[in-house]
């Protein structure tokens, strides 16, 4: 059903309780940090820190692996392919025709993979500890226009519905003898018309109905708007924010202002 989209798992950890705006900001900063650091050791330290957060968020190994399985494959691919396509640097360890495997290239491969790992895991932690509702609410509070926030919220809300609808349409057409995986590319594309048309028609009908419902509840009646749920920053959020900024600013300063090799 909505499995792969909604990674949110309810739990009572400080990360779950943290103000979603702080979390979004944290994720952006940590992502930036991952991109700024180019030394493998420091990246691994960052990765370790992120794993610590993962642990504190009480993410299970199986759930994390499930969410990150493509990322892991991608990382493995980077590690393997980088030395093959990057012939620069010394010492050279092996060569085969135009392909030169050099030691620095191998390390660069690992560095890139570690970077991808940091990025993916930190976003996963955000999704894991923050409900879709809170995410949208945070974005709107941080300045996203309410219309866009509502569009985002509606899309997220209807994802499981449309996923189930498409399954239902597939079933209905299979019951008419449609075999979706047989035949050449041309036949398969024509077969998918039988799925696509009913889906689009259903989507358009739903959109029409939603539009009437929105209007009936005074959507757009006034420029100002109130909100039932408010996001209030607490002291703990403030502290987290402070720590975050410090943890980010120091390495960046060190690297660019003081030329420390990071």
């Amino acid at each position: 059903m909505a499995g792969f989209v909604d990674l949110y798992t309810e739990a009572d950890t400080f990360l779950h309780r943290m103000d979603p705006r702080v979390k979004i900001f944290a994720v952006l900063l940590l992502s930036l940090l991952a991109l700024v650091l180019s030394n493998l050791y420091y990246l691994l330290i960052l990765l370790a820190f992120i794993f610590l957060l993962l642990f504190l968020a009480r993410a299970t190994f199986s759930h994390t692996m499930f969410a990150l399985k493509f990322v892991l494959r991608f990382m493995a691919l980077i590690i393997i392919l980088w030395p093959i396509f990057d012939p620069s640097g010394t010492p050279m360890l092996a060569s085969l025709g135009p392909i030169k495997i050099t030691e620095p290239a191998i390390w660069r491969g690992f560095t890139s993979a570690a970077r991808v790992g940091c990025l993916a895991t930190v976003w996963y932690i955000l999704m894991f500890t923050t409900s879709q509702r809170d995410l949208v609410r945070a974005l709107v509070k941080m300045g996203l226009r309410f219309d866009f926030g509502l569009t985002l919220a509606i899309s997220l809300r209807f994802l499981p519905t449309f996923s189930a609808l498409i399954d239902s349409i597939k079933d209905a057409q299979r019951a008419r003898g449609l075999e979706l995986s047989k035949g050449g590319l041309l036949k398969i594309s024509r077969n998918y018309v039988a799925i696509l048309v009913p889906t689009i028609v259903a989507a358009l009908r739903t959109a029409d109905a939603l539009s009437l419902a929105l209007q009936s509840r005074a959507y757009g009646a006034r420029a100002d708007r109130t909100y039932l749920r408010d996001l209030k920053m607490r002291v703990s959020d403030g502290i987290a924010l402070g720590v975050l900024v410090a943890a980010f600013v120091l390495p960046v300063l060190a690297k660019y202002a003081f030329n420390v090799k990071l």
């Binding site: 919220a153 739903t206 009437l212 419902a213 209007q215 959507y219 109130t226 039932l228």
Partner: protein, 289 residues
Amino acid sequence: MRALDLQDVRFKHRGSDHWALDGVSLQVEKGEFVTLLGSNGSGKSTICMLSNGLIPHALPGDLQGKVEIFGFDVKEHSVAEFSTKVGMVFQEPESQLFCMSVEEEVAFGPENLAVPREELRERVEWALELVGMKGYNDRSPFSLSGGQKQRVAIAAALSMRPDMLVLDEPAYALDPVGRLELYSVLRDLKERYGMTVVLAERDAEEAVAFSDRIVLMKAGRVIDSGPPRIVLREPSRLRNVGVTPPQLSEVAALLNARLMTTENSFLTVEEAERAITEKVLAWRMVKGR
């Protein structure tokens, strides 16, 4: 001032050459519970869409005649303005709930009207309690049953504190349990709150018992209007209009035919049971002598 006042109304959707309403006059008084009964194409949905201005503002077309909602001309006020007076519930549960949680859904309307937060919270709790969905605040709409979804839709309309609630075939997609839940909420609304309700239905089996008035419609016209007992007296008339008569009406009509009387009319099973038991016991007494 009437809740709804239609005088000689004709309406044709833009691009259509078929009159959805063809000369309809209909008045709904405050506090009345009116059921519009008719088959597909009878015009009952069109009247619902008129009641809060969706016709002609969101669904344009050729509108003739007078349409006043609590005294306000429908052509001269927006849907948003009417939304504080008329709450609307549509037939498809899935496509009228668009928020990620029940409480957001119910709060959505008043939020759009910039109602202050404390009052928002009050309204949400009040509306959820009224429809029997207290405590469901954080549930996602996807996880609810059809009947629960429709009740949330009603709560979302009620939180606007309207004076009238309009429901267009709300039980269409529901299973028997959902239907029962829905109708018990409507009955509550009528009996405890005296809310003005306009209900469009194709099958009157349940609503009959607590409607003040039934309006029979066919092909854009009002065929009859009156208390349930009177309008439902002739099942054949209902069939002519494309509506399945309630079984109890059929029983009463058949009984009347056999007994050559017109006195019998049953709106509820209990009523029928009492009346029939009385008769049968009376017959037995006579036979006993």
